[in-house]
């Protein structure tokens, strides 16, 4: 961008990215965590990390993937450890709508370990290949497959049980 000081151009770019992609990132965070608070927290943390790495990530042309990778790994590996460190700014809560249906699949998702759930979201919502999921989560393809199959087994078992009980 000619005629604009370098730093502010970079910041404009960053703010544009946040403005354009925030809702999509929140949807991802929501599917990952199952609740709007953690989703918002996770997105903010992902964006904070992105900001620190912006000039580097921007050159690679895929900031969205960086944020999703950050969010996924934070959520699966170290999330909640960090909470205590976030005390000096207690941010406002948004009025949000939560899920009120009793969709059994969504409910069963709540019972899955974080890693299994993340694999399912990446595979069945983001439509990523196992290789891509492995890269984002920092695990092997074999682990992606085994986590997915365990999660699907559980979903299937729960589904069968609920069919049995309504019969």
């Amino acid at each position: 961008m000619p005629g604009c000081p370098r730093l502010s151009c970079v910041e404009d770019d960053y703010e544009r990215f946040v403005g354009e992609r925030a809702d999509a990132l929140l949807r991802y965070g929501y599917l990952l965590t199952g609740n709007p608070h953690d989703a918002a927290d996770l997105v903010q943390e992902g964006l904070v990390r992105l900001r620190g790495a912006w000039s580097r990530v921007r050159r690679k042309h895929d900031p969205e993937r960086y944020v999703r990778t950050t969010m996924t790994r934070l959520h699966v590996n170290i999330w909640r450890l960090r909470r205590r460190e976030q005390l000096s700014w207690d941010l406002p809560e948004e009025p949000v709508t939560d899920v009120h249906d009793d969709g059994s699949v969504w409910k069963v998702l709540e019972t899955l370990p974080k890693k299994q759930r993340a694999v399912l979201v990446l595979r069945y919502y983001e439509d990523l290949s196992d290789a891509e999921i492995a890269e984002i989560m920092g695990i092997s393809r074999g682990t992606v497959r085994s986590q997915a199959s365990r999660a699907l087994d559980k979903l299937r078992a729960t589904e069968l049980a609920s069919l049995e009980s309504t019969r």
Partner: protein, 439 residues
């Protein structure tokens, strides 16, 4: 895809359509967290250990979220995301991201002094407190955050006088902290690890100078969650507030420190007033109280989160004060008179404990302490600066702090409710704001 997998994809897509929308002030929040994160990391190193996320490779995958929702989050690209908000009670001019309040030197000229950031001998120093109108208590540091000398600094002449040499005991895990003055004495604490437990030593020295002595020690059983979170010097003793072990009294005459009866869960706000819950306890109880199902959770969110220090007790008279019910969805911190917080409509909101006298100001309230029962720090919209706000009069002033060239910003903080000093470095100087000189 089999039936199970199709059902799963449908359920996920369905849930995604009900995901929350990005808050209109998201950019502000990210800014605040980014700056707070940098500040804390610089100050303590605690957060640095958690920054372990790797960058993904340069793969180019069309994510479904991208492709399926081209119209997502269409917002102006000029960064004024906060200004797109609708609803909310803030008058529109308060949402403008580009308006700064006047500089603090203009708003409260009598309260502000600028002094050199270094002593005549070239040493850096930390302002700790104001002993009186013209005397600052400072420490110099042997190494990062490790104070070695305690001096008074004459704000009128710039001359200094040594009060004491500070000894940091061997094995200290927390260096001298929370310098406090009262009754002609200066008090502070250090902490050391004894086996598995943390022991806090409380030190005092006369203001006119002398050799610091340990007045008493308090064993804190859980070193990971324990901490001294406040100190006060009263007529005959030092009051020590702990994060999880109540409030203690150490008489000047010596003798065993004793916990003030019934202070479990309470913390020093402004002696003799104690408050509960603190931020840790509140967040913890909010987490454990969150019911497991999404439906019930949504009901729980309509319940307001309890304010930090929503319940106050006077340790001398036993008088109690409880905050009137707060609006849902907000997050609040109380002092003796005021409660302040952020609400979803992009501003600082403050009101008295009884719910009266509501005031709204632009910015994001910083969850430090409410200083002298009326002053607070707020991040200005779009994080263009930091304001000192006077809840009593509704005035606010720009502290002059700006981002560095790397985008970081140090945020001045009010760490104690009873301190009249707000000090922060600015443009190679040390800014000294005497909150008690603001009327």
């Amino acid at each position: 895809m089999n039936d199970m997998e199709s059902a799963l994809a449908r359920a996920l897509a369905d849930a995604a359509s009900r995901a929350p929308k990005a808050p209109t002030d998201l950019m502000n929040r990210v800014d605040l967290r980014y700056h707070g994160y940098r500040r804390r990391r610089g100050a303590t190193g605690v957060v640095a250990a958690l920054a372990v996320v790797a960058v993904a490779g340069g793969s180019t995958v069309a994510l479904r979220g991208l492709a399926a929702n081209p119209a997502d989050g269409v917002r102006p690209a000029d960064g004024t995301i906060a200004a797109v908000a609708s609803g909310g009670a803030m008058p529109p001019e308060n949402r403008r991201a580009d308006k700064l309040p006047p500089p603090v030197q203009e708003v409260w000229p009598r309260a502000v002094r600028e002094i050199p950031a270094k002593l005549p001998d070239g040493k850096a120093f930390q302002p700790r407190l104001l002993v009186d109108d013209d005397t600052l208590l400072i420490t110099t540091e042997a190494s990062f955050e490790k104070a070695d000398r305690l001096l008074t600094y004459d704000l009128a002449t710039g001359s200094t006088k040594e009060v004491a040499r500070i000894v940091t005991p061997a094995g200290a895990v927390l260096f001298p902290s929370d310098f406090t003055v009262g009754s002609g004495r200066i008090a502070w604490w250090t902490a050391k690890k004894d086996g598995g437990a943390l022991t806090a030593d409380i030190w005092t020295v006369p203001v006119e100078g002398g050799t610091p002595e340990v007045l008493g020690s308090i064993a804190l059983p859980d070193p990971d969650s324990e901490h001294i979170d406040g100190l006060a010097v009263t007529g005959d003793s030092v009051i020590v507030s702990t994060r999880a072990a109540g409030v203690w009294k150490l008489p000047f005459t010596g003798g065993e420190p004793r916990r003030i009866e019934g202070t479990e869960g309470y913390h020093l706000v402004q002696w003799p007033w104690l408050g509960t819950p603190d931020q840790y306890a509140r967040d913890k109880s909010a987490e454990t109280a969150a019911p497991p199902t999404s439906e019930a959770r949504s009901g729980a969110r309509d319940q307001p989160k309890e304010a930090v220090f929503a319940r106050l007790r006077n340790a001398e008279t036993g008088e109690e004060r409880e905050t009137a019910p707060l609006p849902a969805g907000g997050s609040w911190l109380c002092g003796l008179t005021w409660c302040a917080g952020n609400t979803a409509d992009h501003g600082v909101v403050a009101r008295h404990h009884d719910g009266t006298g509501e005031r709204r100001l632009p910015g994001l309230f910083s969850f430090n302490m409410i200083g002298l029962d009326r002053f607070a720090i707020a991040g200005l919209p779009a994080f263009k600066g930091v304001a000192l706000i006077d809840l009593e009069t509704g005035k606010s002033a720009d502290l002059g702090v700006r981002r560095d060239s790397d985008g970081s910003m140090s945020i001045p903080t009010i760490n104690r409710a009873d301190s009249r000093l707000l000090a922060y470095p600015l443009d190679g100087k040390q800014m000294i704001v005497d909150l008690s000189a603001i009327s």
